[in-house]
Amino acid sequence: MSETPSYIEFAEYSEHVPTNIPAAVQQATARFLGNRQLRIGEMPQWEELRQAASDIRLHTLLNLDSYLEKLEQQVTQAGGTVHWAEDAEAARQIVLGLARQHNVKTAVKVKSMATEEINLNHAFEQAGIEAIETDLGEFIIQLAGMGPSHIIVPAVHMKKEEIAQLFQEKLGVDAPPDPIKLTAIARTALREKFLNAEMGISGANFLVAETGTLVIVTNEGNGRMCTTLPDLHVAVVGIDKVVPDWESLTVLLKLLARSATGQKITTYTSFMTGPRRQEGESGPKEFHLVMLDNGRSKILQDPVGRDVLKCIRCGCCLNVCPVYKNVGGYAYGWFISGPIGAIFSPQVLGTEAARELPFASSLCGACVDVCPVKIPITQILLHLRRRVVEGDSIAPASAAPMVRSGAKLGALAFGVPWLYKLGTQLLPVLMAPLAKAGWIKALPAPANRWTRVRPFPAFAGGFRQWWHRRKK
């Protein structure tokens, strides 16, 4: 699923959605939205928070170079190492290089969309290094060899009986079809991995430039396990995840969990700055941060499209999208789905590979209403549709010069009273020779664009005269 696609056949995929997907997805999204609604009811300043979050995210993007420099300086000062990856291949090589350098046999992974974007697990597999997903849903789909159907609950489409059978086959244990017992099995199996892994791999929900701090949120505790127990911690993070300072987090952390699952806050939020400072302290000995570009710096050139980089990956747009809720995540062809996928994938993969995605929307705008950072998703979809049709130009939409001057002429003709009066007297006189039985079959260019398709009605008389006649 996270293999970089060369072409996303959204129309084709959405015709062949497995029957269990929409029902499962709709159950999850309804649950999250219901809880979210309760949370919003408790937050009178919800709309102000959204605006503040949007402002902060946009401000950061527009000054991203200086925040990236600050981040690097701070992480380095804290004893970490920052690597810069221009693309997915560069990122894979850096992470693999670190794994080989440290003789890693087993790496434990926190759920990270950035690592799915670069298809890291596949690279580790090829290199003969075990990379185990530790988020329960990701662990399940990794065992099953499938991709995620939802950003937050990736295995929601699987029934407990399927999962029990999977555990029986792949883990060789007696597995009853009971979520609590299945979770206990996963806990035992993964505990051993957490304790013995030489390397922990994560992404980050936020990177705080002010202090070089990595912020990770989870409910399960696997985020803490992967970033505390192994001696080596490597984080792969998109350059768009930077926030200026801790104060910014006071806004963003209030929006993230509430938008994603309707919780007030996730069970765990870790704030990590560099490796452990002292001997005898727990935590990784070595910390490496791989900053991933992979097309994001290019996206910044597009004044409309770049708002996609404000995304904090809450998944709320998926939860409200009528399209997503009927086709699930696979139809979007890559690691990121729903409305955010429809505007991210075309900008990273190009409007050829992802040309169907901007059209995979009814433009209902439900996503725009819920996005915690106010990404103008429908605006970007329209913008990307134009880019698909006009071949990827990112110049702002400009009406053809002819239409522009036509509009200006029209404004004059209708706006200047004596011109208008003159026009109403002249026009019938000019058109009379062209009319036959009340219809004009052909007009000179550029008006022939109309008459090529249908006849133009001849003027029956002047409105003012008709009005005055009526009043009498």
């Binding site: 300043q45 690097e72 206990a184 104060e247 806050i265 939020t269 704030f271 570009d293």
Partner: protein, 213 residues
Amino acid sequence: MKTSASNPVIENVRRSLGRQPGQATPARPPILPARQPGDQEAELDLLLKEINAVAGVAQRMDPTRLEAALADLVQSQNVRRACLWQTPFIQELQLTALLQRLGVEIIPAQAEKHVLATCDLGVTEVDFALPQTGTLALLSAPEKPRTVSLVPRVHLAVLRPQALGADLHQVFAEASRQPYLIFITGPSRTSDIELTLTIGVHGPQGLYVWAFA
């Protein structure tokens, strides 16, 4: 340190934005104002209520009831081994001795991770607490390892009222310069399997919070 001249990513970002190296950055947009806390008792009530709402077990405690409460916990949670932070307050409560009297084997908090993983109970203090969400915030240090609140099956956190913070602004103001901070809100959980809520995944299965006066 690498200069950004040798950093193609930052260079690409700058070029896309039309910015110059060293160009000034305007101030970050304003943040919403801080919360005014209620009185301490109300804040504590709110904290305990919120912790219980996320499947934690939170209650007020005093030193006279401590031994009985510990005995109860040890029995109901089948605690045979425990590790503890050694903070002045925990030492004052004599938790180590009390647990030993109950027949619990004490493992040093700095023990190697595999040994620590055999503990049933981890005891920590709470550095900051956020009443609105029932969140405990813990720092990290050699005598206060991160693993104690993470690896054992049960986490017991003792709280003094000084830890109560009004909101994130206050906690961040004090903790942002620290190399590590963890927010804990209830025991670990997941709904990944058929959206069925399951308590106890990779982090602790039980969170007990005892708030002292």
